[in-house]
Symmetry: C2
Amino acid sequence: MALSPAEPSPKQAAKPLLAVLNGERCDPPPMWMMRQAGRYLPEYRQLREQKGGFLDLVYDSDAAAEITLQPLRRFPQLDAAILFSDILIVPFAIGQNLTFVAGEGPRLTPPLVNAALDALTAYPARLDPIYETVRKVRAHLSPGKTLIGFAGSPWTVATYMVAGQGSREQGEARRLAYNDPGAFSAIIEKIEAVTFQYLCAQIEAGAEAVQLFDSWSGSLAPAEFEKWVIAPTARLVQRLRKECPNVPIIGFPKGAGGKLAAYARETKVSAVGLDETVDPAWANKQLPAGLPVQGNLDPLALLAGGEQLKDAVTRILDALAGRPHIFNLGHGILQETPIAHVEELIAAVKGDK
Amino acid sequence: MALSPAEPSPKQAAKPLLAVLNGERCDPPPMWMMRQAGRYLPEYRQLREQKGGFLDLVYDSDAAAEITLQPLRRFPQLDAAILFSDILIVPFAIGQNLTFVAGEGPRLTPPLVNAALDALTAYPARLDPIYETVRKVRAHLSPGKTLIGFAGSPWTVATYMVAGQGSREQGEARRLAYNDPGAFSAIIEKIEAVTFQYLCAQIEAGAEAVQLFDSWSGSLAPAEFEKWVIAPTARLVQRLRKECPNVPIIGFPKGAGGKLAAYARETKVSAVGLDETVDPAWANKQLPAGLPVQGNLDPLALLAGGEQLKDAVTRILDALAGRPHIFNLGHGILQETPIAHVEELIAAVKGDK
C-alpha cells in the first residue's frame, strides 16, 4: 500500500530541522554542530586572516553571511545554518564597550560590578548589522536548510556584564545576585527586554528558529536557578510566542544537570539542548514526552574520532529514538577537530538511510 | 509514656554524624563544613604565617592536627573534624613532585600527559606524616565528634596527575582517556591501589568515616563517567567494605548532575554529598530511599548571610527531612566568609532544639 500524499514520511519533510522542532521525528535525524562556523574550518581561518578580528567579521555582514554558509557548503548534509555572531552583541547595544583580547576572550567595560546600569547609553543601532547578516544568509540558503538565530540567555549575558569578562564560576554575578537582588534583577530585565527585541528582529529578517544559549546556568544554586534562569527565560518565551507564534525556541541550559526537567517544564521552550555531560537515556526519561531534544555528542569524542566516535553516536541515537531529536554536539566544536572526523560523524548520523 | 532506654531518641546518639551515616535520622542534623579548617579562620591564618606554606603545614603533623581541631574549638556545635591535608598527597606518594605556587595552585611534575607512569619512583613514606596527624587528632577529639579522613577519587586525582595542575574542563585527562584508554586506565588503577592503602591506613590511625572527593566528575560525558568515575569508585568501595566493614564512605561527585542517582546506586557508597547546584528536593526523589545525604548550602549564600541564608538553610532542611541528613556546604567555605555568618548558619541549623 502506497503512502498517501497527505501523510508524507517524516524523512521527506521540507525542512527536517523545523519538522523536529515542531514535534515530528525524522530518520535520520537532522543535524548541525554548535560553532560549526568557526576555526576548525580552513576557509574560515583564511577569511579571518584577510578581514581582521572576530568582531570585525561579525560586523561585516557580507563576511558574517559567508561564514554562516561555509559549513553548509563543505558539509551539504547539515540541516541548519546558525547565524555567525556573538552573545555579547546585546551588552554592546545596551552600552558597554566590547573588545576581544587575543587569547584572553571578551572584555565589557565598564563592568557592572562597579558601574550603574542606568549610566550606560544604549546604542540599539549596534544590532542592525546582525539583521543584515540574517537577511543575506536567508537569501542564499538552500531549500531544506533552516536558519537558526540566537541570543544569550539573560543570566549568561548578565554574568559577562557584571564581571566585564568571563569569570571563574560566575562568582561576581552570583554575589551581586545574593547581595543586591534588586540591582541584579534590573540588569536581568534590561537584557531580557533587549533580547526580546533582538530575537524578534532576527526572526523578521529571516531566522526560522532561535536558540537561547545559557552557557553558565550550571553554577547556580537551585533557588537562584529558578530566579535567574527559569523565570527570565519563561517570560522571554511567553513574549516571543505571542509575537512570533510559529517560531520554535531551543533552550540550551548548559550544566543544568538535575534541574533540566524543571527548566523544560517551566520555561516552556519548544526544545531543549543537552550538554555533553547529560546521559541522553536519563534525559529521555526525565523530560516531558514528545519534547524535542538536541544534542549531545562530546566534542572531545569528535576530536578523538574512530570507533569510539561511532559508538558514542550510536548511544545517543538509540537513547533518543523515542522522541523528536536533532543531532548536535553537547558544546561547541573544538578548533583542533580534523575535518575528516566531522565527515565520519556525518556518515555515522546520516548513514546510507 | 517514657521512651524505653533501648530506644534512644536519635538526637541522643553518641556520635550523631556516624549515626546518620549508618542510616539514622538526627534532629537537628549533624553538621560540618567542607574546608572548615582553613583561611576564613584568623587562627589558621596566624598559624600559617608562623609556619610557612600549605604543604609545610600538611607535613607538620602537630600543626595539621591543631588546624584540624581549630574549627571545633571555635564552633563547638560542629559534629566532625576533617583531616587537614590535600588530595594531591597521593600523586606525591606515587612519585610526582608536588609544589603549591602562590596564587596559582598546585603543580605536579612531570605531568603524565608527556611522561610514563612507570617511570615514576614511588615514595609510600610520603603518606606516613598524614597518619600521624590522624592519630594526634583522634587523641584530642572530644567525645561525640567524628573524625573524617579523605582522599580524592581516582578520576579527580588523575586529572591533576595528567595535566600536572588544575586544568580547564579537565581537557588533558579527558583527551588521554579517549585517545589512549589503556594508558589512562593504568593511571586510574594505580591511584585506586594507593588510595585503598591510604584510606585503610587513615582508618587504622583513627578515621571513623572517609570521604572521596570527586571534584571534577562534572566534566565527563556519561559513558566516560561510568568508566572513570563510577567503576573505580565502586571497586574502591567494595575493597574498603571488605577491609573495614564498619567505616562509612561518603562519595562526593561534584557536578554529577543527572548522573547522581546512577552514581549512588552503582558505587554503593554509604552516603552521597550534594554540591550546591543540586536541588535537594529533586535529589531526595531520585536517590535510593534511606540513603544518607550530605549538603548542600551554596557557599555564596553563607558569604552573603542575612535572611536569604536562613531561607536557604530552611529549604535544605525541609527538602531532606525524610532521610538521614548531614548538613554541609555544597562546596568549600570561601576564605572571605565572615565568622559571624558561620555562627548564624550554625544557629539556623542547630536552633534551640
